[in-house]
Amino acid sequence: MIVEFPALNLLLLMPAIGVAFNLFFGYRLGRSAVNTVSVGVVAIAFALSVWATVKLATMPPGSCLQAQLGPWIYAGPLRLDVLLRFDALAAVMSLVVSGVGCLIHIYSCGYMGEDPDFARYFAYMNLFTFSMLLLVLAGNLLLMFVGWEGVGLCSYLLIAFWYDNPLFAFNGRKAFVVNRIGDVGFLLGIFVLFSAFASHGLWTLDFAEMRERAGLISPAIATIACLLLFFGATGKSAQIPLYVWLPDAMVGPTPVSALIHAATMVTAGVYVVARLNFLFALSPSTMEAVATIGTVTAFFAATIALAQSDIKRVLAYSTISQIGYMFLGAGVGAFGAAIFHVVTHAFFKALLFLGAGSVIHALGGEQDMNRMGGLRRRMPLTHAAMLAGTLAISAVPGFSGFFSKDEILQAAYTSGHKTLWLIAVVTAGLTGLYMFRLFFLTFYGKPRLSEERFAEVHEPPFVMAMPLVVLAALSVFGGLIGLPEGVLWGNQIGAFLAPITGRVSAAPAQAVMLLSAITSGVTFIGIILALIGYVVIPTLPERLAAWAQGLYRLLWSKYYVDELYDFLITRPVLFLSSAILGRNVDSLAIDAVVDGTGEAVQGGATAVRRVETGNVQHYVLIYLGGVLLIVGYYLLSALRH
């Protein structure tokens, strides 16, 4: 059932109004006007999303709302409309984009409270929201690509927001270029799909129509197209091999990291795969590739996260790792679970970034965890919120991340991807370890900050605290929309998405329990290791100082544990992460590929440029060379006849 729903246009246009307002009147009307309008438009967009979702929920499954803004490109047989379509998948995504987006906009009012460039900031943020909504609401692939490029552009602009710092500007450009590399794949994928469908008379690239006629596409073409599109997705979603930009993207303002580089934009790749699941389903080999790359990325990013000391970089690698999980889910056919994880991840990762932002804000820009510690006492609220987020991302049973991650892992297991499942379970343990390491290093132990600065540490103001509380609640309870089958109301979000994404057959109940238990067990091991390494042992020396006698032995013990920990986990992991991944793979191999391509291109550029010697007779010679080639070509073909 398709219902016309013109309010969708309004939903899309609200952030655009915000952009125009901020650009043209922002600086003139002042900070409070900018804050009100920027937050207001996103809030209205959220309200409209809720309205549309409620309306959609009352309709039979598989229906959608749509609105046509007008014809876009009509050329020859080509028929592309500006068509917005609001189905279950779009509903979930637009709720997340506008909802989490709204909270982050509110938070930004506090975070950017003293930045002189507030109007530019909010213009970019609203532009991002607009592009992201366009991406998820677009009814055809090319319109989606407009949003896709738009979010990339905003990401670039916001990473380099504080462009006075040349490193920031450089990182922004790196993100832009790496994304564009992915976009080649994406664009070529669109072309391939376009020509494949056009040869069957479909010239619209419309998702619904492509879905109906997916059967006409040969598996080979589907494989090529899907691989190309997936390559684009690895760029935007920071997967191997194109993940290098995301950690560097952390130089942007922290709310930007929360909104763009954690909650929404980076999940666009997952959204694309889910949106085109009918095509990916045609190509089992592509599905395998998606699942494998997702899992491997998840594992490697988690190991790297262990070795980082910058709080935002840890979160960045954890984002990469979590998106890896999503691709694993998508790759094994559990598209619904992948989207579910997108949702819960948006909650807890936005929360974690905003919490980290509060800490950074309170510490006057300090991002190194080695200079934090003990902040629990000064920032109880942030501490509680971060705890909720950390528990959620570590997938501790009962918290939101648990349900979504568990669904993915079970789908991986039941679909027969046992190796991938095993790696993913180990990664779950690593996740617990590095996230609690972050948590403990930041909030527990002795303050490693100078006393004066520590005394100045304060809780964030209300506008920043409020989003934290809301997101904490969502991180804790958000998983309830997708309980395992048979528990209470069961998997609501899965059922809601099923008409678009399909469903995977659930495993038997005992198997479900057993798998959950294994995963949770591994997670707990990770958490306990973090507890021992970063909380328990550091406090032991103090107690031992009281018991003077046991000092030597317990010091030794501490050393032993540290060594053991160092030897058994940190060393190998450090070796893997910093020696192989951090330096060798990350900087050598991948940077070599990226930079090497760059250098090859630059070298080519210089060579091509040197042809222009400035001497007019050299030009004549080049010209004549061209003439001779063409004349020769035609003489030969004339001779042949």
Partner: protein, 100 residues
């Protein structure tokens, strides 16, 4: 009557001589004269073809080409003069301010 191929061959030869002249002579004026030679080689070709086919078009074109060649002469000498005033040379090698 002389076969048309002779004219065409002569035209091609003159054209090639002009081309080589453009390529190897260093004096801008001579380079320019070589270009004029190329145009006149084409003119010869047009006339020959037009006459062989009994069509007037060939001759009409030649009128226009002559005009264009004349205008090019006027403009070209003016530009060479301007270049000479700036650089005090008409050596083609020495005009390389603009490159890369």
């Amino acid at each position: 009557m002389t076969p048309i191929n002779y004219y065409l061959g002569l035209g091609a030869l003159l054209f090639a001589i002009g081309t080589v002249g453009v390529l190897i002579r260093r004096n801008l004026i001579v380079v320019f004269m070589s270009i004029e030679l190329m145009l006149n080689a084409v003119n010869l070709t047009f006339i020959a073809l037009g006459r062989a086919m009994g069509s007037a078009d060939g001759q009409v074109i030649v009128f226009f080409v002559m005009i264009v060649a004349g205008v090019e002469a006027a403009v070209g000498l003016g530009i060479i003069l301007a270049a000479f005033r700036n650089r005090l040379t008409v050596n083609a090698d020495e005009f390389n301010l603009l490159r890369w």
